[in-house]
Symmetry: C2
Amino acid sequence: MVAADRSAIEFWFDFSSPYGYFASHRVDGVAAEAQREVRWRPFLLGAVFKETGSRPLVDVPLKGDYARRDWERLSRLYGVPWRLPARFPIATMAAARIFYWLEAAQPALAKPFAQSCYAAYFGAGRDIGDSGTLVTVGEAIGIAAGDLLAAIDDEASKQRLRAINAEALDKGVFGSPFFIVDGERFWGSDRLEMFAEWLARGGW
Amino acid sequence: MVAADRSAIEFWFDFSSPYGYFASHRVDGVAAEAQREVRWRPFLLGAVFKETGSRPLVDVPLKGDYARRDWERLSRLYGVPWRLPARFPIATMAAARIFYWLEAAQPALAKPFAQSCYAAYFGAGRDIGDSGTLVTVGEAIGIAAGDLLAAIDDEASKQRLRAINAEALDKGVFGSPFFIVDGERFWGSDRLEMFAEWLARGGW
């Protein structure tokens, strides 16, 4: 029996975030263990970085080299496929707009779409910043190309994502992945164990 | 039986780093479990931040608030005393110079001195950027005030710390705490569990 939505876990991530990708393979398991639901919340890390003055990891001297090795290591540790895409990082507003359109119009497909985007990007190295690629990803799970392209360019869709990014900032989400439960925030895929313990103990 | 020095763990930290402080309470246990020695390596995070363009956590919008709450949470989780000092962050070259002077002159006292600095700063909120405070901390473990003040101002001592900071940069140490073993690098106190697993399994 899964608890009501008010106690759902918020899982914030950017589709271009490797650590978000690794966390996406584990967050549902952590939540299920604690009998919680997960609300997947894709957002644009770039919008937040404007606020914090941060840069993409791979652009930061020293940190970039570390991260590349770390991603390989996490892939082996968790048995999750990994490839650093040729185009990386990318702007992910198209994928995020589709996600929220699905969440409203065909909610059962929103999470599968997000998982497929991650699999295409970090599993297969395909450029999910490209509309054509997103159409293929969407069609594979039964979404019509026309609906999907409309969801990218629709004004309501753009406004929805702007509101989501504003919500992320408002909640103090400054990185990807980011987990929020009952107002408590955890940043980073390497905080999933602590997050699981927090859920199990009801905090400390 | 502890292994020879060539396989010691390097524990890099800044005396003004809260996450370094929390890690300092756990790294020796992790190492002992793996029958490894630990080489404590205080350095100046500011010197590295010049390279990476990073800023102290508390100066970063959103991140600062998160970190303050996170430190309280870690203190409760690990049962480690915690106080955010009135002066924070601070420049820690004096404490670091004394550490390396001790390492050469009275090696058995180097780690106790480092632990006492952390306890004075984050446990009791005393300003270890101040020479007078460092004299008190040193005297409590039997170091003569004159020796200690000389270690701060000695030209050889300054050169030694510059060399250490250069070594940190050279090894790609961009944060605190940072752990290196057999050439493999782990960043952050929240990587200690993974680091322990790496040691136990001999990598993966």
